[in-house]
Structure formats: C-alpha cells, structure tokens
Symmetry: C2
Subunit: 279 residues, 2 copies
C-alpha cells in the first residue's frame, strides 16, 4: 500500500518515520522547497515533493496539516487526492473537520493520534513520538466500513492502539483533558509573570523548577494551535473553562473560610482521581 502524508511537520514527520520503520512506502507532500529538502535530509518519507501530484498513486492519505488548513482546504490538494483512496486527518478537533471533508471525499474518516510536543515544523518529527500512542478514529453514520477497517489495520501495524469514538464525544472529552490544560498553563504563566515587580520576577525566574515547568508546559506550545482549538471547539472549551472557574472559586472560598477539612478532602479526591487518568 502506498501511503501519502500531506504536511511533514511534528505529526506528519513522525508518522512518516514510523511508517517507513514498518516497511510502508511513504509519499510526502511538502509546502515549499526548503521544507522538501529538509524532509528528504531527515528521511521523513521515501519520496517528497511540493507537487500535489505525488498523491496520485496513493491508496491511503493522511492529512497532517494545521487545523486551519484542514477547515479551509486548498483546492489543489482536494483535486490531487484520488477518489478511491482512503483519506484521514490527524487534527485535535473532529466535528468541524469531518463536516467539511465528508462532503469532499466519500472515503474520508476522521482520526487523531494522541501525541504531541511543543515543537512544530519539518525539524520536529521523530519516530518515538508515536510509541504506544493511542490513535482515535471517529467514524460517523456516513463513514465507509472498509475505510475504518483499513485505517485500523494501518494504525495497529505501526504499534499504535486504535480507540473508536464519535466526533462529538472526542471533542467534548478533548476539551477537558487536552484543550483546557493549554489555557490553564498559559494563564499560570501570565499570573507568575509579575512584570510590575521586576526584582521579584527575576527571583521567580531563578526559582521556578520542575513543578512549574510541568504545570506550564503545554502553555509554551504552538499559540496558533491553541487559537485553532478555541475557534473550533468553542462551546465545549467554554464549558470546561466555566467548570474549572467554579472549582477554583470553590477552593478559594475554602481557603478564605479556613475550611481545612474541606480543602484536604478536595486535595485527597484529586490525588485519587488522577490515578485513573494517568495509569
């Protein structure tokens, strides 16, 4: 099976490396000559071109583009995708992307590998990014059953675990476990960035250690990704932020009232609940 990857950034590049390790033949579409050369140097795909025609012989194509390019697809790419190829994307939101691509391509199926770092671009991908990753497939009533089966086989063949859910449930759950953390982390950094007191800020810079680094990590990621998530998952993200704001206000009130039993109970509950998320 010839596999096409549109976009060889963090996710596309990592998938390209992983697929080749498992002896798949990969055709990569780069967005400019510089990236094409870098992608070839880094061997992100067996063949790399800036000409969408490279997709012509592909049986399965992965759109590894930024969300905004998935929700505003280029005519050139749409035209280059063979009508009988299985097509998927890797975007962190699913409903807006699927609603567009299902109309454009009969064999489209939304998917999303759960992997990422703060890096982006053609230098960012690495094979280990996808090690033991869960890869979510989000079929709809219209999705071709054979496409689900073929995509699942491919995902399993590179050591990732397929997880099937609906686009809606994906976006709702991701708003809590993935999109909300980005905005909390960004807000934590903003709160600690006490520019009005330069000497204290300097001390904060010196003393911040692993706790701050970990809690703020996803706030140091690609700002465009955060923005695209807010634009495309607005309703669920706002629900998540509102729920969080109520919870932090509740903690604030416990501290104001010196309700230490109540506060300890909350901290105990969170510690215990976390085990099911991070085991």
């Amino acid at each position: 099976m010839n596999i096409g990857i549109v976009g060889l950034g963090l996710i596309g590049g990592s998938i390209g490396l992983k697929l080749q390790k498992y002896n798949h033949i990969v055709y990569g579409l780069a967005n400019n000559e510089t990236n094409k050369q870098k992608a070839l140097e880094r061997k992100l795909a067996n063949h790399v071109s800036c000409d969408p025609g490279i997709l012509n012989e592909c049986n399965l194509i992965i759109l590894a583009l930024p969300i905004r390019d998935l929700t505003n697809p280029s005519e050139e790419i749409i035209k280059a995708i063979p009508k009988d190829s299985i097509l998927t994307d890797v975007g962190s939101i699913k409903e807006p992307i699927i609603s567009i691509w299902e109309k454009l391509h009969p064999l489209f199926i939304g998917s999303h590998p759960m992997a990422g770092t703060e890096e982006k671009g053609v230098n960012a991908g690495y094979e280990e990014l996808l090690k033991d990753a869960k890869w979510i497939i989000t079929p709809t009533a219209k999705t071709n059953k054979n496409a689900i089966s073929e995509l699942s086989k491919l995902i399993n063949s590179i050591g990732c675990e397929v997880c099937i859910t609906s686009p809606k449930e994906h976006d709702q759950v991701l708003s809590l476990i993935s999109h909300l953390p980005i905005f909390l982390a960004a807000c934590l950094i903003e709160t600690a960035d006490i520019k009005e007191n330069p000497s204290l800020l300097n001390l904060a810079h010196q003393l911040a250690s692993s706790g701050f680094a970990d809690t703020s990590r996803v706030g140091g990621g690609n700002p465009q990704l955060g923005l695209d998530l807010a634009i495309n998952n607005q309703i669920y993200l706002l629900q998540a932020i509102q729920s969080f704001r109520q919870n932090i206000t509740s903690i604030e009130n416990l501290i104001i009232k010196k309700d230490w039993d109540g506060l300890l109970k909350k901290l105990n509950n969170s510690k215990e609940s976390r085990i099911d998320f991070c085991n």
Copy 2:
C-alpha cells in the same frame, strides 16, 4: 563535620544519600522503628536512631520534617539539638517556620532546596533528586553570619546552588511558581473527573496523555503538603489564586467575544514569558 537529619522522608532521605556521597557523616533521626530499619536498609544515613539523642554530637542539623511538624515542633527534638549547632529546615514556606525557630535556636537559618516528587516517606528519597538543585537560604536580620556561611558551604559541597532571599520574598514568589500550580492541577483533575457521565469519563481516562499528565502532576502529590501550604501561606496563595482567576476569566471573555487576535496575543505572550522561567 557531623550532620544530623531529622526525618528521612523524600527530602531528608535524598539529602542523606547526597551528603554521604560527598563523604559527610550523617546521623538520621527516624520517627519509628519500622522507618529506622528501612532507612538503614536504604543507607539513607550512616547512623539512624529513633532516639533524639543521636543529634547530640551534630554540628549542623537539618530539620526535614513536614511543615506541620516544623510549625508545631516537639519538645523532645528541641531539647536534643545542641545549642551550638547550626540548624536549618527544608520547608516550602519560610516566614511561619522562621518566626518559631528563631526564638528556639540562636543559630537557626531557614532554607529550602527546590526539589520534589509526588512521593513521600522513607522509601521516597533518592540521591539524584538534588542534582543541580537550587537551595534557597532565607536569612533575617537576626541570622548568625557564620551560620549562613557554613550552611552555604555545605550546600555547595554537594553540588547544589545557593540562592539567598528574604523569607517574605520566598513565600511570595513560591506562592506563584510552586503553591498555585498545586491547586490549579488539583482543580484540573476535579474538572475532568466528570462522574455524572461515566461513559465519557471512561473515555477521558483512556485518552488522557502526556499533556494532561504533566499539567496535573503536582495535583497528584501529597494532599497534606497542599493543605499545609494553604494554611501557612494563605495571604500570598489567595493573591495568586485571585490573579489567576482574573486571567482565566479574561481568556473566557476573549473566547466568548471571539476576539481571536486578543487570544492569540495572550498565547504568544505566555509562550514567550515561559522561556525565562524554564531555561
């Protein structure tokens, strides 16, 4: 120099291992026979006892106790500390601890190594915890100059970097970079723990990956520590939470108003600011 460590949990045990690596002789005080045996098995100190008398011959003593035991010190331990020994603690808050111990011991000097994990107890310590750690010393006007010098020498001798600031500035800065993250992380876990929708919660458990794990990590730590920080750093912690709440409300409003330029600016600022905290 004979060094005493009172308490051989995560921090005390790690310091014991590190000091021995650099050929210091370490006397450890354990709180019960079981912990004494475990500490001896793990070689957390050269000598371990449950009898505070073990401190009698020590020139420098490190109180590696939970905050509540530092702010409510036992008479037995106070009596066992030689009057001419240099004494420090390792608590994550400084003003409340120093105000008590400065009255009890003329050669007391508050300090705080910037290191930690979510573990606690006699099995938790490991030498690498303190690798290249910053170790804050917080002298007051009353602090003996020789004590500062001797403690600094000891800290440098085990490869840690001394950082000197006031107790007040320590507590203020730590409220932002260390204590606030604990409560945000706990709140994130509470928000994602959607018990009212078991099937969605099950999906969240399956899909949570490194972003959620990192952002929530310090919310999975020792609940008693979080409580002690709230009790003893109440004013600064509340200021930090209030500032954070304003910032998250501001992000919420940007999303509601679809002010994408404003949101992107915030995300860009946070990404850029983070570099100074985590370089």
